[in-house]
């Protein structure tokens, strides 16, 4: 597949004090396969940082290396300014994590699972366990055995265990997997609330572009193990081009008008055109369509979304 060039230059490096997590040339090979290849990420204090990529892009492998579940082939991970492999205890004390679909001991209740896991971090405060169950909406089901939990409930319990120790950095790998729409909204609100009120920094991996766009303030796009893009979401979208959706008939006549007005047709399906043009040009375009005898059913201004940025970054724009 063709390698897409980064859309924006890498953001300037933040000072060490601001950086909560940094990977430097992080690589992992499984035989001939380079799952992660020279990844340089930078998560700053207070970020809700989205790690975006297709399935198999290397997101989970990166997170596993950050949490030292797997050893990098090359490069290193610095968390809170310390090398994770050399200072794992000090670092992991300040991190909460959920890797992929969380798995618990099925013969124990949700509450007991949390109590035992909290105990491993030295925690004994039963009230904190209740608080976390409450936070994720499992207070009434905490006494049930985990074997009876749905995937969404396990996911929420996973989030609860990641929050037990009041970590400064929370790493969530695909946190919305298995959640229903209300669960996704609740999850997003909780993350944003903890970030806003408690200053918790989040690193969230996902392939759900819309969710990342709504939740995160910074994002990195990883494709085939390589970093394609890393920037503020707002900055990325500020650079995004204006789009317009137009539905006009007859289609052939409308296409002619777009050609004459130099409006770039990005896509066309069932008489609905996606045009790349500035919003200021839309009134003239509407007038031209009208003058050529076209009936205009829809004319909606818009902008490129993170999805468009992602597709461009991963070289998949043409396939869309």
């Amino acid at each position: 597949m063709e390698q897409a060039a980064p859309l924006t230059p890498a953001a300037p490096r933040a000072s060490a004090a601001e950086v909560v997590l940094r990977t430097e040339g992080l690589s992992k090979r499984f035989g001939a396969l380079a799952a992660v290849d020279g990844l340089d990420l930078e998560v700053r204090r207070g970020d809700i940082f989205g790690l975006l990529g297709l399935n198999g892009a290397g997101k989970t492998t990166t997170i596993r290396m950050v949490l030292r579940l797997i050893a990098p082939t090359a490069g290193r991970v610095l968390a809170f300014g310390q090398d994770v492999r050399e200072n794992s205890l000090a670092v992991l004390n300040r991190i909460g994590a959920m890797v992929e679909i969380p798995q618990f001991y099925p013969y124990l209740t949700g509450r007991k699972n949390l109590e035992l896991l909290y105990g491993l971090s030295g925690g004994r405060d039963g009230a904190r366990v209740e608080e976390c169950l409450e936070l994720v909406g499992l207070a009434t089901r905490g006494g049930d055995r985990v074997r009876g939990y749905s995937q969404g409930m396990r996911q929420r319990l996973g989030l609860a265990q990641a929050l037990l120790t009041r970590p400064e950095l929370v790493i969530l790998d695909e946190p919305t997997n298995g959640l229903d729409p209300q669960g996704i909204i609740d999850n997003r609100r909780l993350i944003q609330r903890l970030n806003r009120e408690n200053g918790v920094t989040f690193l969230i991996s996902s392939h759900l572009l819309h969710e990342i766009e709504l939740t995160c303030n910074r994002v990195a796009i990883v494709h085939q193990g390589r970093l394609r893009l890393q920037d503020d979401v707002k900055a990325l979208l500020a650079h995004a081009k204006a789009l317009a959706t137009v539905r006009a008939e007859p289609v052939a006549e409308a296409r002619k008008v777009f050609g004459l007005r130099k409006a770039e047709v990005v896509s066309e399906r069932d008489g609905v055109f996606q045009l790349r043009c500035e919003p200021e040009a839309l009134p003239d375009l509407a007038a031209a369509l009208h003058a050529s005898g076209c009936r205009v059913w829809e004319l909606t201004p818009g902008r490129e979304t993170l999805e468009d940025v992602f597709l461009a970054a991963t070289g998949r724009g043409g396939a869309a």
Binding site: L67, L69, I70, L92, N93, V99, Q103, F104, P106, L120
Partner: protein, 289 residues
């Protein structure tokens, strides 16, 4: 580190005792002891001139041998579930992202395997000695007598006489030594299971291979007696067999220092090697499941 390992051991024990396995395991072990002790199985006594000369220690040897063979099987099973179980369930992802090192986790797993093996060993010892005293007890004067038979010198309801050449204290001493010698083979069996467990993400594969290898080794040791002396699990046989034979009146059967040394040295060295290899595998492996 001690505090972290202590927390992990509590964590492991809390999980273990909320499962059915440890309780289920107790039934066959206790059952084997009780069956042998009550039915008086496998008592030979050919060397005894007078068949009325009998004592409960003859039964005890067989009971303990069968029960501890079962304990060694369960040690292999429980240990082979230990590391592979976390990997196959995906629960390592919860444990290893906490402020604990892999060394802490490994030490705690090895300790818990040891605790379980020792608990099963103690259960065997307690049940068998309890049965010895209840069914085949000794009277204050040292005679063999069952308290259930109103002070008559009986064994399993039959009147017997005690043998002055096989005093109680000597036989009890034989069994204390035999039981002590059987601890290291049991632990080595557990550590063997731990090694196999460290190699697999799949519990079925780990338990299956561990059991197959353990049974194959035991079978090989039983067939080739010379080589069998150097098989860790087979060291279990030596002490209890000698103690049983001595209780049965084989007066020419003596304890041999060389064999005693081998009976603890072989499982000790094997156990250390298994632990070392399992640790080396565990700390280096990537947790992908």
């Amino acid at each position: 580190m001690i505090a972290r390992v202590g927390r992990l051991v509590r964590f492991e024990l809390a999980k273990l005792f909320r499962q059915k396995l440890p309780y289920v395991v107790l039934f066959p072990i206790v059952g084997a002891v009780m069956l042998v002790m009550l039915r008086g199985m496998d008592v030979q006594g050919e060397a005894v001139a007078d068949p009325r000369i009998r004592n409960g220690f003859e039964y005890l040897g067989t009971a303990c041998l069968w029960a501890l063979r079962l304990v060694s099987v369960f040690a292999v099973v429980i240990a082979s579930l230990s590391l592979s179980g976390e990997a196959s369930q995906g629960t390592y992802r919860m444990v290893l992202v906490r402020p604990v090192t892999r060394t802490d986790v490994f030490i705690s797993k090895a300790l818990v395997v040891s605790i379980v093996v020792l608990a099963l060993f103690l259960a065997t010892a307690a049940v068998s000695s309890g049965m010895l005293h209840v069914a085949h007890g000794f009277w204050r004067d040292g005679s063999y007598v069952s308290p259930l038979n109103e002070g008559r010198f009986t064994l399993m309801g039959e009147e017997v006489i005690s043998d002055p050449n096989r005093p109680r204290d000597v036989l009890a001493g034989d069994f204390r030594l035999a039981m002590t010698l059987s601890i290291l083979p049991l632990l080595a069996s557990g550590f063997f299971g731990l090694l196999i467990s460290s190699l697999f993400d799949n519990t079925g594969a780990a338990v299956g291979l561990a059991m197959f290898l353990a049974v194959a080794l035991y079978g090989f040791a039983s067939v080739d007696r010379q080589a069998g002396k150097y098989v860790f699990s087979h060291s279990l046989e030596y002490g209890l067999t000698v103690a049983k034979h001595r209780a049965e009146g084989y007066s020419d059967r003596k304890w041999e220092n060389g064999a005693i040394r081998r009976a603890w040295l072989v499982p000790l060295l094997s156990g250390v090697a298994f632990l070392g290899a399992a640790y080396a595998v565990f700390v280096r492996r990537d947790i992908l499941s």
